[in-house]
């Protein structure tokens, strides 16, 4: 997600960062690079022009700060401008006083409206609402069938009838009232913005159901045309926001920036995978961080909160603290993690994960995780508690039982052993120390860079109150404390923890604000 853009910026900005001073020629070079990066990311050319102009003006009038290097100051400016374009706030859905709250989805063919409808309905359900889906796409063959299947998977009732789209939408609204549903989501046929007849039709649909929210569904892979399309739909329907789909591809997603800038409506939701749960509200401020190379830890925490079972989590924590985390616990936790969504999706949210790891992880699926599960399930309860008893013969048995090779079993046992050691460190001496040591094994971002970014956030970049920054800063503190590249580093958590903790405490103030405020 936005990775390539991030990479590009990282490359440019690392060079900037290492320089003490910024000349006008520097600024021009940086702006040229930024321009190319944004164009290759499919940001609309007019938006790119405004963006680079704004950055340039602020760079030239730059008063040298005592706290930040010129390079850091440029980063801050770029960050500020990105946040300014993407918009500061996450869209808050306010529900209609007299239900149902009606939501209309519109967009080009193939942008992902039907899937997004089902995902959105499921999202509302998770918010404790009771949605009804209306299939008003009578154009594409079998579109309503598709919605019905998805509705069934999501546990949402789907209403449709073979009449005409306006009638279906009207009847759907009646049906929602009759059934006492409080949210109504209307899926519509894909249409071109220049198709006047169809644009008329969707105007009529909107007139009939009077939507509280009208969302344009846009594919993250869209090129320069995104702006023309968004502007046309906005003119016809007066959009309230945008749903960005297929963000799990490697498209740089510049369309998100363009549309926000041109239409002035926020990206409300983003879809990040093929599963119904791979969908969430879009957090613009976090997206700017992501563009600048910081991960999206907050999204991950919210995802966890929604799906994880508190009891199991607490049990796992207790096991760690008491130093008796077994393969049985591992299996249980693995299933928890699985509930949170696709592995690669989650990894992409974390900061500092090297690109190759992300790439490798896209090859991973629950299928592979399934193999890990199968291996553990092929062990006896005794073996799961005490893996030391697993000798050669047992390994062969386990491999046969789980349909894997003994080398796979060996690899898993080895990894688990390392994790156990790490967890012992966590139990004894605080997690940041242990994990910090682990971090020290192969950081991609230098500790300095992370600390700088953290500092930057405290000095006010993007409103400055981004807990993810603060958290990362704390992590970096621990990281700095750990010796680099020593395999044993992670296990000495007890020894190093005081330092890691101390730093974490100082910078981690913002971490306290992690407590989700969106609920």
């Amino acid at each position: 997600m936005f990775e390539s853009l991030t990479d590009r910026f990282e490359g440019i900005l690392t060079r900037l960062r290492s320089r003490g001073r910024l000349t006008e020629a520097d600024i021009d070079e940086v702006l040229r690079e930024i321009r190319t990066a944004l164009l290759e990311a499919d940001v609309e050319i007019g938006v790119v022009r405004n963006f680079t102009q704004a950055v340039r003006e602020r760079c030239i009038g730059l008063e040298l700060s005592q706290n930040l290097s010129p390079g850091q100051q440029v980063i801050k400016i770029v960050n500020d401008e990105l946040v300014a374009i993407l918009g500061g706030e996450t869209l808050k859905i306010s529900y209609a006083g007299r239900p149902p709250t009606v939501i209309l989805l519109a967009g080009l063919q193939g942008s992902g409206k039907t899937t997004a409808s089902a995902k959105l309905a499921r999202w509302f359900k998770q918010q404790g609402r009771n949605p009804l889906l209306v299939g008003a796409d009578l154009q594409r063959p079998a579109a309503v069938d598709q919605l019905r299947v998805l509705g069934q998977q999501a546990g949402i009732t789907v209403f449709s009838e073979p009449s005409d789209p306006v009638a279906v939408a009207t009847a759907g609204l009646e049906e929602a009232k009759r059934l006492g549903r409080d949210v109504l989501i209307v899926d519509t046929a894909g249409r071109l913005a220049i198709d006047e007849a169809l644009m008329d039709e969707i105007r009529h649909i909107a007139g009939a159901v009077n939507p509280h929210y009208t969302f344009l569904v846009i594919d993250a892979m869209t090129g320069q045309d995104a702006v023309a399309t968004a502007a046309a739909f906005h003119e016809a329907l007066s959009l309230d926001g945008v749903i960005l789909t297929k963000l799990d591809g490697d498209a740089r997603g510049g369309a998100a920036l363009s549309v926000k800038e041109v239409v002035g409506r926020p990206i409300a939701f983003a879809s990040t995978g093929e599963k119904l749960d791979d969908f969430d509200q879009f957090h613009p401020d976090r997206m700017a961080d992501r563009i600048l190379g910081m991960g999206d830890v907050l999204s991950l925490i919210e995802q966890a909160e929604r799906t994880m079972d508190r009891d199991v989590a607490t049990k796992g924590a207790a096991a760690i603290i008491e130093g008796r985390f077994t393969l049985e616990d591992f299996l249980e936790q693995l299933q928890q993690v699985k509930k949170m969504g696709s592995m690669s999706g989650m990894l992409s949210l974390l900061p500092g994960v090297p690109k190759d790891v992300k790439q490798a992880s896209s090859a991973i699926d629950d299928r592979q995780i399934g193999q890990v599960e199968a291996i553990i399930r092929s062990m006896t309860p005794g073996e799961r508690v005490n893996p030391a008893v697993i000798d050669g013969a047992r390994r062969v048995r386990i491999a046969n039982g789980s349909g894997t090779a003994t080398s796979d079993v060996n690899a898993l046992l080895k990894q688990f052993k390392e994790m156990q050691k790490m967890m012992k460190g966590m139990g004894k001496g605080g997690m940041s120390g242990a994990l910090g040591g682990m971090f020290g094994r192969g950081p991609k971002m230098s500790p300095q860079a992370i600390a700088e970014m953290a500092e930057l956030s405290e000095t006010g970049a993007g409103g400055g109150e981004l807990p993810a920054f603060a958290g990362t800063g704390a992590g970096a503190g621990a990281l700095g404390a750990g010796p680099t590249a020593s395999p044993g580093a992670g296990m000495g958590g007890g020894r190093r923890s005081s330092k890691g903790k101390g730093k974490g405490g100082k910078k981690g103030k913002g971490g306290g604000r992690v407590t989700p405020k969106s609920r």
Binding site: G110, D145, M308, T314, S362
Partner: protein, 415 residues
Amino acid sequence: MIVSSAVASAAISASSDVLVGLAIAIPVLIVGVGAGVGLRLRGRGVKGPVPPGEVVSDAPTDVELERSAEATRTATPDAETTAPPASVEAAERAEPVEEAATLEPATYRGRLGKARGLLAGYLGSVRSKGKIDSTTWDDLEEALIRADVGVGATDALLNELRGRVKSNEIVGPEALVDALKSDLVSMLSTADAALAMPGSLAAGDDNDADDDARPVAVWLFVGVNGVGKTTTVGKVANRMSAAGTKVLLAAGDTFRAAAGEQLSLWASRADADIVRGSEGGDPSSVVFDAVQRAATKGHAVVLADTAGRLHNKINLIEELKKIRRVADRPPGRVVEVLLVLDATTGQNGLAQAKVFLDAVDVSGVVLTKLDGTAKGGIVVAIQRELGLPVKLVGLGEGVEDLVDFDPDAFVDALF
């Protein structure tokens, strides 16, 4: 293994249950994924590429058993076991379909005309000037970028023209625009855009004996989600049926809900037969079945739809490779692998083309949705960098709205 500290320290400062849980989850996740990667890479190393002769009823590989857990559970990778649900549906006469009534037959220029005009402004102002100056170049650049041609291809095109202007080979803005257009046209005409239509097959490179052993020509349609693969298969089927070719459709998109129904409707519109598998079933086995069926029932061509897949999902690309291998076994022969590309796609289209070309040896591009305001300029970059020709163009939702690619008309519409 290096990512957890932020989460962990966040968890420490705000010690809610969930955060503690998450702090555990992350190492678990990472070890899990690590082990998964290990398993996966090992698996590939041992097996290596599967030779084309591989049987279709392989034990399930890790590739075909991914996507959703439910899907894999119902998947029966053996071709024989999926055969029962697969059925050849007699092509019923299409119920009256509304679309044909309102649409006159698509002509490339006619349809594109609607969307034209957006860029005319740039080139109009270029042409109307007396001489070539820096704004001329800026305007040309902007026009190309706006058409999604991309920074790389745009720079290459314009730099070459700059040289020719400098050496006075091109004089005046009029000549410059014409030179740019003819450069684009010749760039888009370098590769052979001819389709391996039934009947022209004998003229192919394969020797006759091979043709006799593999009489079923397979066309494979691939691409990311939502580009219009299923619709394109329907339109191609209609075109071949109308030309008197006996066509069999293979509903290889077993993942997207109701994709099979969608293709069935197209089959009845096009008067073609169809082989379907169960939803969530193994797409390779559907294609296998279709090829077998075609061989017995005398269909000349199998048009195989596939599920949309993002090109960065390695396992899905592996699945696609398998589909191609299976389709290319006697009596089947893959004669076209068409990458379906949405004209609204931006620079990511090049990455898509690279991966699909590499994975399944794409033979050409179908550019869909060119009846909108999007120009589809990314195909310039695709042809320039990968040598992949555009073969067909989609101009609407009607069954007739698929035409051969015409570089002149395309370039005209770009500006």
